[in-house]
Symmetry: C2
Subunit: 277 residues, 2 copies
């Protein structure tokens, strides 16, 4: 079962860290840009540097696609070179009418070989069911996102007084018959995270927005994880993969990235230890 597999990794590595792999031509250290495949080399370095700390990697397709098809080829190559057993999350936020979503689900879970994928809920059950039907894969439904636009629709109150994102949570619970459903909840929404976790003790949570987006790591670990301090993945992208400083070589860059990843994992561990104390 996918949830068990992830929780075993969490326990083994004492980490909730997911590293967001978002290659950005304006931020990748310049020495990579002189290599034959800068996107692949950069991504591979990030993975090398963080593999002791991360339980998951979450490439965001937009960043790879921004390099055109060669960016997607780089992602394809990266997928073949990831450490064994690590969890891979396709952050592509795709869903469509049923017969079309079936193609997306098969692309991410079979062709690409991801363990998990993010999906937007707006089109409802038949747009998500093709993902859910892969029992051994994790489907992460956008619930309350970390961006300002979350107030436009997600926080709108429904007739029963609850915000729309709670209606999404309720459906997610209903759709969780294979224990393979998760929610995406922004780290900068600590209050809501706490409330949502209380309402959904069994769901997986993917929590982006720590670091560059200002969410608190401590609160994300404390409020986002379940009663056993598991079932949560905290994504950190920019704050780890683009460390401050100038780097002249792969070695220097990887050292700085590893230091950042370690820093975050140590902070996670002490947050969880405080919980246990």
């Amino acid at each position: 079962m996918i949830k068990k597999r992830i929780n075993a990794l969490i326990e083994q590595k004492k980490s909730l860290l997911c590293v967001g792999i978002d290659p950005d031509a304006r931020k990748i250290p310049t020495f990579f840009l002189r290599m034959q495949d800068p996107v692949l080399e950069f991504a591979r370095s990030v993975v090398n540097a963080t593999s002791d700390f991360a339980i998951a990697y979450k490439p965001n397709f937009a960043f790879f696609e921004s390099f055109g098809l060669k960016g997607l080829h780089a992602l394809e190559a990266l997928m073949r070179q990831l450490p064994n057993g690590v969890i891979t999350i396709a952050d592509a936020k795709r869903a469509d009418i049923g017969n079309t979503s079936r193609l997306y689900a098969s692309a991410f879970f079979e062709t690409w070989g991801f363990d998990a994928a993010t999906v937007p809920p707006y089109m409802g059950y038949d747009s998500i069911e093709p993902f859910l039907s892969y029992k051994e894969k994790l489907t992460l439904i956008l619930c309350l996102t970390s961006n300002g636009g979350s107030q436009d629709f997600q926080e709108k109150r429904m007739q029963d007084g609850k915000p729309l994102y709670e209606a999404v949570l309720e459906k997610a619970l209903e759709w969780n018959q294979f224990d393979n459903v998760g929610l995406v909840v922004g780290a900068n929404r600590a209050e809501e995270l706490k409330r949502l976790r209380a309402k959904a003790p069994t769901l997986f949570f993917l929590i982006p927005g720590v670091g560059a987006q200002g969410g608190s790591l401590e609160e994300s670990a404390r409020y986002g994880s379940d009663a056993r301090h598991q079932s949560a993945i905290i994504n950190i992208g920019r704050a780890i993969i683009y460390p401050d400083g100038e780097f002249g070589s792969v070695g220097e860059f990887e050292k700085a990235v590893a230091r950042k990843a370690e820093e975050y994992v140590l902070a996670m561990r002490s947050a969880l230890e405080r919980l246990e104390a």
Copy 2:
């Protein structure tokens, strides 16, 4: 202005037809599958056969991606070979937090060169603004979709008694300062289409769901178009690109596809003529 450009095409071709290009390995006539690039050859044949009738082409990315990266290469080649002036709609339904959506918008509108793109609304303004900032491109926001899952969230009543999809329409009106916003409303929702058009006389409508999904062409043309019988694009996919019958050659296939496209355009014309009478 993009709306003017599309409406000029509508007037010139007396057509609201958008052809959905959804290559499906299980449905493409087998003689294409023996060619070197079946996806490209099939898509090109569909375009050849329909170019007298269609004002727009809407490739759905899921179908191209289902062939792996070679499917996307085929789409890239197709984009370079489309007839001049025809409208191209990237049906990819992508949106993410602001800085990420910016990459999607630039990918679809600049790298790929599409005239329009579909976006889901769940993540709100900053996830859509990067698309809107291209004043000469059309951003088509999912409003009320043609699938069963539309009832899960889109039709949920908000505190003011209105369904969520109307909140999306209201935001779309607010965001339409460059006259480059459209809504996606399913053809099988004739009543709602009529009501939404009345509330949004200035927005563009993309209407999928005629044909295989059972929406009425007559009602879509009548209720979806604006006061001048323009500003609407009716998408037909499967019912045109997969005509019944066995085809042994490109010529036979294109003839059958052209016949279907003509049939639909003649039906659209008579629906609009009845309106004018």
